[in-house]
């Protein structure tokens, strides 16, 4: 992306983006926990996770990671195509 920034500005931006990435990772993590816990944990007759629940959570984490990866790829492609499309219309 041509941002029209100087090198010094780019370094500042870089630092801001790193903080943002940490924040985004935390959000993905929180959503994953909430989603897998909600889907897998339903038995409150004990305060420890059952092996069934642990298995479900573990599969949920794996599937969520694959979902994240796959949608990340699609998002990148679609976003690039859209940006290209907008540029074409402007010319």
């Amino acid at each position: 992306m041509d941002t029209g920034l100087t090198q010094a500005e780019n370094r500042q931006l870089e630092a801001r983006l790193q903080k943002r990435q940490v924040k985004e990772f935390m959000n993905v993590f929180a959503n994953l926990v909430d989603n897998c816990f909600t889907a897998c944990v339903d038995d409150f007759t004990s305060k420890a996770m059952s092996s069934r629940e642990n298995g479900c959570i573990s599969r949920c984490v794996l599937k969520s990671m694959s979902t994240q990866t796959r949608l990340g790829e699609r998002f990148g492609e679609l976003n690039a195509a859209m940006a290209q499309d907008m540029q074409n219309r402007q010319n």
């Binding site: 992306m1 941002t3 029209g4 920034l5 100087t6 010094a8 500005e9 500042q12 931006l13 801001r16 983006l17 943002r20 985004e24 959000n27 993905v28 959503n31 989603n35 897998c36 889907a39 897998c40 479900c56 959570i57 573990s58 599969r59 949920c60 794996l62 599937k63 969520s64 694959s66 979902t67 994240q68 796959r70 949608l71 990340g72 699609r74 998002f75 679609l78 976003n79 859209m82 940006a83 907008m86």
Partner: protein, 92 residues
């Protein structure tokens, strides 16, 4: 996706950085909403398998494409409607 123009004369460094950051934030939020919605639409909630099934994978791809299409068409419709209603728009 460029919602934030940088059209005014001589923006400061801080303004330029904030504008780029904002644009990336908007994109990241759209991504995160897409993941949430397409997971709801496509992923079997019993988690009997740890791998995406063929059906789930294809559903995610199509959901992503449709989400972008809906985004674009809604954005265009809103612009048209807002223009029709005379600028003030529906934000009151």
């Amino acid at each position: 996706m460029s919602f934030f123009g940088m059209g005014r004369a001589q923006p400061t460094s801080a303004e330029k950085i904030a504008a780029v950051e904002n644009e990336l934030k908007v994109v990241a939020e759209m991504h995160s909403r897409m993941v949430k919605i397409c997971t709801l639409k496509c992923i079997d909630k019993t988690y009997r398998e740890g791998e995406l099934s063929k059906g789930e994978s294809v559903c995610l791809d199509r959901c992503a494409a449709k989400f972008f299409e809906a985004h674009t068409s809604i954005s265009e419709q809103l612009q048209k409607e807002t223009a029709n209603r005379g600028g003030g728009g529906f934000m009151g």
